[in-house]
Symmetry: D2
Subunit: 372 residues, 4 copies
């Protein structure tokens, strides 16, 4: 078991890159929530491949077919759906698959992909086409679930947004960790390339283009922020906001590090510099700085939540690499065919938002927050 998460809202993701379809079941969305399909589609398009210079040439409409749990609101304008309380299942067909590209990979694992450990774990029975269940394509249903959750939070004044914090050594501008508004949080996601600074974005794009020309790839960091959260959400020890978000973020392929607030930088600070002093601002308790990223003891402080995920460079590169033949147990050169992103970071931005939005909705669902 592996592809199921959540406590109060359950998310079960299924599918392989080249199976008939992929999809998600989301169980626990309260009845009577209304969702605008066009908004959900906008969010999912941020992840969908095709069109951009930095993404795979594979094209998928990625239009979810809703099998259950949502009823069309006939009275409303536009494609509005109302949750009926039953589990929501959405399915996305796989159409543009080129399975033949993967035949030479059956016994020759691609470095830094899951091929080798999957071969051992599944005794060779796993679906190798397109990375199977390990494919980044499985983040499409995650984004569907995340779109629902993000919309539920938005209605309660909570904004989830993210930007490309860095590509390789190039850094974006920073959010204001204390005074950040919901509008500012969501702004980068509305752009074709999700940075705060357009100039930094252009430099990132040229690095990506350069690596692509070299048959290479490059990694980066995505930073996600949440505004409008109430203080007091989360539990100590193992059910804290950090535990839950981190566990979900490591479910996104290529994420190798997660930090909250100043994260690893905090390890190099003194307490007098790292601590966030309190003040009264507009009649509320606020911290003057926000180096803890809005979470103390696993519980929200009411300040903006800040989390960053480190994303490794796409393992699929055009350059020849050293691999092995698993049957004959001998070393072998491998050249990867198929279509791949030279940099997965831009398309990871909505996936990170989705994971964070789902985590928070799941936590809030247990508090009665959605019972209006």
């Amino acid at each position: 078991m592996s592809s199921e998460t959540g406590k109060n809202i359950k998310l079960s993701i299924f599918g392989q890159s080249h199976s008939e379809a992929i999809g998600a079941v989301i169980d626990g969305i309260p009845a009577g929530e209304s969702f605008d399909l066009s908004e959900i589609m906008s969010f999912m398009r941020r992840r969908a491949p095709g069109g951009q210079s930095y993404s795979t040439a594979r094209r998928e409409a990625d239009r979810p077919r809703i099998l259950s749990g949502l009823l069309r609101d006939e009275g409303a304008e536009g494609e509005i759906y109302l949750s009926c309380g039953a589990p929501i299942c959405a399915v996305i067909e796989n159409s543009d698959t080129r399975s033949k590209d993967y035949e030479n990979l059956r016994y020759t694992p691609r470095p830094s992909h899951a091929d080798f450990p999957a071969y051992v774990k599944y005794k060779g029975f796993n679906d190798i086409r397109g990375g199977g269940h390990f494919s980044g394509r499985l983040t499409a249903p995650l984004c569907f679930a995340g779109a629902l959750c993000r919309s539920m939070l938005k209605k309660r004044g909570i904004s989830v947004g993210a930007h490309i914090y860095s590509i390789g050594e190039i850094r974006d501008e920073a959010f204001d960790s204390v005074k950040l508004t919901g509008e500012e949080a969501e702004a980068p996601g509305l752009k074709a390339f999700s940075t705060i600074s357009d100039e930094a974005g252009e430099r990132m794009l040229s690095v990506i283009a350069e690596k692509k020309a070299q048959g290479d790839s490059v990694g980066g960091i995505v930073e996600c922020v949440v505004t409008g959260l109430p203080a007091g959400l989360g539990d100590p020890m193992f059910d804290g906001v950090e535990n839950i978000i981190a566990a979900l973020l490591f479910g996104i392929p290529a994420v190798k590090g997660v930090e909250f607030g100043e994260g690893f930088s905090l390890s190099r600070m003194t307490g007098s510099r790292a601590n966030d002093p309190y003040e009264i601002r507009e009649g509320r308790v606020r911290t003057v700085t926000n180096r803890n990223g809005g979470i103390l003891g696993g519980i929200t402080t009411g300040m903006p939540l800040i989390v960053r995920a480190a994303i490794k460079p796409t393992p699929s590169i055009a350059l020849p690499q050293d691999s092995v033949d698993l049957r004959e147990m001998r070393e072998e050169k491998l050249t990867i065919k198929g279509r791949h992103d030279p940099c997965i970071v831009p398309r990871a931005v909505p996936c990170i938002e989705a994971a964070v939005a789902f985590s928070l909705c799941d936590l809030m669902a247990g508090t009665g927050a959605f019972i209006d």
Copy 2:
């Protein structure tokens, strides 16, 4: 709910810093496992306060009283216990408590501690003495559970070890991420100050002493490694080794970041540099480098597992800080009394090992690995 974790082995931790006792229930340890109490006590002493210059002056014997689940092996030499299959409960009495130190904190939250969000969440009913359930003291039962798990793994050829990777800006030497042996992994933990390089350790100690003298504190990073793991452990997406370990590590107070392998550094690399090529070594499939830290797609590769946790500086410092009075909603200066570690990192080393060992035992318990 919050203080319960694990899937195949359940760990439930209870207690507050100044309650009658703290402890843990560990349910799911197979029957017939033998444990040497002296070994468990050695492990727990690595975390226990008292004695060191960098730790709180609070002294606790931290000797667990075993209430259930373990039966004394009368035939064996030494204090050997055998698991009987029933949940194991161990209790540690709280003795050296000075609750009066905390009275001035009831409505004046300490910056970067959980005081304020806990006040909101628990409506003022939480136990503020010594940080209550948020106290670092709650890692003692975690270490008890970790000691059992670490011993179970050791018997199966799996070594869990950690070292102080850095204090402030001072770095320890590095482990060899490819050829690391179990003995090397465990070596730093056998020292009074858990570094690979004694020279780096001494420089760290002088930084800690300096911060203490200044009434300040300092953070650091703990790196944990595991050798001898089989390939194929863990599941894709949400039940991967990374998800599970990260979720547990964020349960340790002051952890603000978790990364695997090269972690955040991978985000700055190209694919050609970040990928770990395969080779055949001694008849087995191995990677030439180990930048992914022994995990791909959430599943172990059979290479050493490498994880790092960033630990923020102890929030309790002697310097005066800005806080607020939560009843009267006005700003207020706070000076923290009580006994505190100027640097929590050295004592966090066994806690990180414990969390990693528990995570792996939990994962392995679901595979039938412990059914001999």
Copy 3:
């Protein structure tokens, strides 16, 4: 959340009676298991409506479309599928829906159906067509999952079978609770009407026909047995075989009681009569009687497992009934239109087998039993 169960194998069921489709995601089936689709279809046909005198006139092909997790074994004869380790999703389209039949039920709850509590819980947003998510139709994906599990057990020498123990006051013959073979256990399921005694079956059919003619319905009991189970399966207290099977059985619509072995009859016995003495038979420890139904302390004894589920009469009857108008809060007569089974018990037989088979597979998956 509600429609998700299992610990080592997760089953998530989705759909409403009249949504686009219904289906199941089954996560945790080990890779390399082979399944014969014709065998799965045979099992599902035992539940499918249409054709029989006692079942609803609604006709559904109930052919599952497999979206993920199973790969066609191209080399094998017949429609053989191999699990690849990824979650298995199967979808069954809803075609023969007559939603108009349900319009008069929106505010007039049918007695003994879930309509009223669902109206309260879902604030009127629930899908009332055909009973929505509460429909007996949702047992079709349960049967799909059960068919996979039953087949996995069968390959390991474990047979799951059930019969119609009673309809109203008419009783079937009894299984031999001690010497029962797998073949005997499965025999009733191979018949069009699943009784041991054909003569009892005919009397039951005439009772059903009689109630149908009266516009009424009738209940009954299904008894399920499992042969070939090893001793030692299950855990004490809350994870025992009884807890897990009972929790699942109460998920089948209309089940109102569950008992193991002699069950409620044991409450009327003395210990000297109720206890199952031990003997050595064919070199193994066996009980002479089996009044405990193969389970002691929540753990299997190696004797046949025996469980019975009480099924209430179909609440949908043609006779007029007293109901209320929930908007206007006044009493109202209700006459139910639509197509309904006068007796749901015959079609419940494979559902009970499915639930029992799933429970046991889930339990066994945690023991490493499926790792060959």
Copy 4:
């Protein structure tokens, strides 16, 4: 794993009959709940052994020592405790143990006890003294948890009560399943022998005395009712009120059957008789009858909840029985020494109440019901 249950409130029970202590950890009780220790002790005394003719001669004070999670309310009269939000741990010492009584049972399983399957499961390492973790004594911590939950429900107008429905063939009077009040529900529990009818109680006592004199034992049925529940509690399919209560009830030793409302009797009824028609009573939607026991589709209807548990006769009888020697694999006569209840049903009454109260609190905790 086995002795841990609950979703929003986690209950972890530990201990063996003759270990140092037994106890429970209850995680998830909201902060600020107040508990009267004398009330909790009254409830626990209903289960405690000693004194009555029908219970074991073992005497245990069964006074829980509270290690964590509850703070003494210094301002209040009496022993009032306030929950602080941290997990509550209570420990009960084992004092009056006579472990020698069990030596002859090491390889000679007592019929209808868990001895044989436990021997297989735990490979002989289980604690056989007093039944170890399978002992009825483990219901003491369940009753502690149940006492807390019952008190929390009571404060919200929800009463949980139970009576001895039958002993052997002797039946108690019936509750009024429609008009039952909280006071009536709790009345039997206030008596020394928990029946509605004192006359029936006396006949039951004489049956028990008779069986005891014969060296035999006798079973019975406990019926539990809950008044004051809101409609709409519970979820369809696998998280219904029935699933959750049944799963917990089967965790109580000797329970072999569970039914709701008319339960197994419903299987013998027609729909026209079994259905509960609706009416408007005092401005609310009520059912005229309550044959479904207050639950439809897994969700409460607002009518009294009714559940019955069948309890088998105490397996420990003084008469000689047929058993086997597990080492030498030969048949052997067994005579059980030790102290045992000739009828466990009276002491099971509070255990059943505890399990039902815990289940409902757990369900309600997920709805925000306890956030005042």
